[in-house]
């Protein structure tokens, strides 16, 4: 029987009523890790401990945290720590819960990270839609100042540390670290050209460490107990525990913390199995960006999933049973990427727009046999060619949908309707232009004039 290993989720699972309050936090060993980091350890020791723990970023890319920190130049100041609390990857909801239920744990992790790299100020980039999380984080910051855990000379040391809470305003791309920085600086949240990397030139052009909420929330435990302790879980290359957000057609959708390397089947079991005793038809193992799996026989760690042709990503696991229309699933994911494409580069902007049009056609019974190959061509046009990984991700999700379930796509085309009865058009709102100004909005209608005369079929470039 699979079991959770609760490290990061321990407090919030054991004290569901008040895990976010300072009192409860202090009663359960809160801030011990931060105190140790500031009072007892030298910054280099901190970095060394994290490096040897092999902790890998939990935000999606899985980059070793200690290595990332080591890129920060020592002799430039000021430096910043920025928390990526902009969780938006479909199927992922671990950071939201950590922010709502254990904000102090995150603050503690920030203190450790800042101490390690020599930053005196940190920002929490909190997703705009997280109203409750923001309230709890804001209160936690106040309380931590009150307790002397933040501010001047924290824990009686000579280390000054401030935290500023910043709210996003609604854009998935701001989860991408360089777009996040632009957004935090008040610009459109669009990814930056790299190099330079944020560790060298980040926020306001200064060296900046950007880490995910879960990554930072792991630190207090790691520092308190040491890297060896941390390595007791997981695999050699993917050590430690990881929170997986399980949702979809399962009986108990929720966050589950398990050692990396746990099998997908065990995770499904933890989540109470599939609803109505059905079988999983498709599984998204790491957020909407991750290519689909069809079997639960895979270990949940960075390497195994990559071997299986997918990725661990953010740890958002979505199970879908046989009632699911995979064309609709692909359409929904692609619509998501289209809506969230920042528009900076050609392939992602135009590719997602085009793919959505084709997918809509197929889902609503107007598809053509050549559309599947067209979709794959669109994927090739985006994959590896867009400015940032969003375009890549869009193509992975789309390609795996078409390739894995090509027969279902073909069935839609052949039957001229959705075999799952999902062909009805539900108006899901003005997709593009929902962000924009009325007078400047997009119309999808052919324009009067020159364009109106051109038959769609005869459209020439």
């Amino acid at each position: 029987m699979a079991e959770e290993v609760r490290v990061v989720t321990k407090r919030m699972r054991e004290h569901t009523e008040d895990s976010w309050t300072l009192q409860r936090v202090l009663d359960t060993g809160g801030y011990d890790g931060a105190r140790k980091a500031v009072v007892e350890m030298a910054p280099e020791e901190l970095g060394g401990e994290v490096k040897s723990s092999g902790l890998r970023g939990r935000g999606g890319a899985g980059f070793p945290t200690g290595v990332k920190w080591s890129f920060v130049p020592a002799d430039v100041s000021p430096k910043y720590v920025v928390v990526n609390h902009d969780e938006g990857e479909p199927g992922t909801f671990k950071d939201r819960e950590l922010g709502e239920r254990d904000p102090h744990q995150l603050l503690e992790g920030m203190i450790i990270a800042a101490r390690a790299v020599g930053a005196n100020k940190a920002f929490i980039y909190c997703r705009g839609e997280f109203a409750l999380g923001s309230r709890r984080l804001d209160q936690a910051i106040r309380d931590a100042y009150g307790a002397g855990f933040l501010g001047e000379g924290i824990f009686g040391s000579d280390f000054d540390f401030d935290i500023v809470l910043h709210r996003g305003a609604g854009a998935y791309i701001c989860g991408e670290e360089s777009a996040l920085l632009d957004s935090l600086e008040g610009f459109r949240g669009q990814p930056r050209l790299r190099p330079p990397f944020p560790a060298v030139k980040g926020l306001y052009g200064q060296p900046t460490v950007i880490n995910n909420t879960e990554t930072l929330s792991t630190l207090p435990h790691l520092i308190l107990n040491g890297s060896e302790w941390f390595r007791q879980w997981g695999t050699e290359k993917s050590p430690g525990t990881k929170i997986f957000s399980v949702s979809g057609h399962v009986n108990r959708p929720a966050n589950y913390e398990v050692p990396l390397g746990t099998s997908l089947a065990d995770l499904l079991e933890l989540a109470g199995g599939m609803q109505n005793g059905k079988e999983p038809k498709a599984i998204i193992p790491g957020g909407a960006s991750a290519p689909l799996l069809t079997s639960t026989d895979v270990a949940l760690d960075f390497e195994s999933l990559q071997e299986a042709g997918s990725m661990l990503g953010s740890g958002g696991v979505v199970f879908m049973d046989e009632t699911t229309c995979m064309v609709r699933n692909t359409l929904v994911t692609t619509e998501f990427f289209e809506h969230e494409s920042c528009g900076k580069c050609t392939p992602c902007r135009e590719g997602t727009w085009w793919a959505v049009k084709v997918l809509e056609r197929i889902e609503h019974g107007d598809g053509r046999q050549e559309d599947m190959d067209l979709l794959l061509d669109i994927c090739n046009g985006m994959d590896g060619r867009s400015f940032c990984p969003l375009g890549d991700a869009a193509s992975w999700a789309l390609r795996s949908g078409v390739k894995t379930f090509r027969d279902e796509f073909e069935q839609h085309v052949a039957e001229g309707s959705c075999p799952f009865g999902g062909g009805e058009r539900v108006h899901v709102g003005a997709r593009v232009g929902a962000t924009g100004l009325g007078e400047a909005g997009i119309t999808s209608q052919p324009a009067a004039g020159i364009d109106a005369d051109s038959e769609p079929e005869a459209a020439q470039p």
Binding site: P90, T92, S247, H427, V428
Partner: protein
């Protein structure tokens, strides 16, 4: 459309006539927001939320107010503001109902909720009801997949929402009753929630936790440095602030 004007070459001293949307109290908050950051430009988005809390949405005057405060052109404010979905450029209802339409929610019945709300509100997603009370939109993954299908009303979460639940929520709000979210939070109005979003992390001078006076913005900042990936801007150039 022809725009007749006398060219000033973007003269920094040129003021465009506009209405400052902030009163003294709101201005104090605006200043507290700016004080959070080493560089005032970072305050643009929170300030636009503050405009939304005052005006109900991000108005033209509001954008000009922010532009003048930060020393940017209104076009730059629009460029930033229009990028984000939570900043509404058109009048919106008192309650914003956002229905998640991403994978987990779709597979667990979100379209039925959308359908039910469309019928109850008499409008398709993306619109505001005729009485101006509700704006109804679909949203991308709200990170509440464990409660799919889930919705937000002014960004407070409701889990496992059935079509009947959704309609009942609307009924309650319409009757003016208090509605509480899954976490027991009182649902705010658009103005309230916008104010809360704007002022998150901001402290009025002299209030508890106002640590900024000492540190925030206190350290030396290279004033005109911007990363190479983006053109360098000089912040008070080309602006309309005097």
């Amino acid at each position: 459309m022809t725009r007749r004007y006398q060219a000033t070459g973007g003269d920094i001293d040129e003021q465009n006539g506009y209405r400052n949307v902030f009163d003294d109290e709101q201005q104090a908050w605006a200043d507290a927001i700016v004080a959070k950051y080493p560089n005032p430009r970072s305050a643009v988005l929170p300030l636009l939320f503050l405009v939304q809390s005052v005006e109900g949405y991000v108005t033209e005057d509001g954008m000009r107010t922010v532009a003048n405060m930060i020393g940017l052109t209104p076009a730059q404010i629009l460029a930033s503001g229009s990028f984000y979905t939570m900043l509404k450029k058109q009048p919106q209802g008192e309650y914003l109902i956002s229905v998640c339409r991403n994978i987990s929610c779709t597979h667990r019945g979100a379209y039925d909720v959308i359908q039910a709300l469309s019928e109850r509100l008499g409008t398709d997603a993306g619109n505001t009801t005729a009485d101006g009370r509700f704006t109804f939109e679909t949203a991308e993954c709200l990170a509440t997949c464990d409660g799919a299908p889930s919705i937000q009303i002014n960004y407070d979460d409701f889990y496992d929402v059935t079509p009947q639940d959704a309609v009942a929520l609307v009924d309650k709000l319409e009757r003016g009753e208090e509605v509480r979210s899954a976490a027991g939070e009182r649902v705010r109005t658009v103005r309230e929630i916008s104010f809360e979003t704007a002022t998150a992390g901001a402290r009025l001078p002299g209030t508890a936790g106002d640590h900024r006076a000492r540190t925030v913005g206190g350290e030396a900042q290279p004033s005109d440095f911007l990363p190479d990936s983006r053109p360098k801007l000089s912040h008070d150039e080309g602006s309309h602030s005097g």
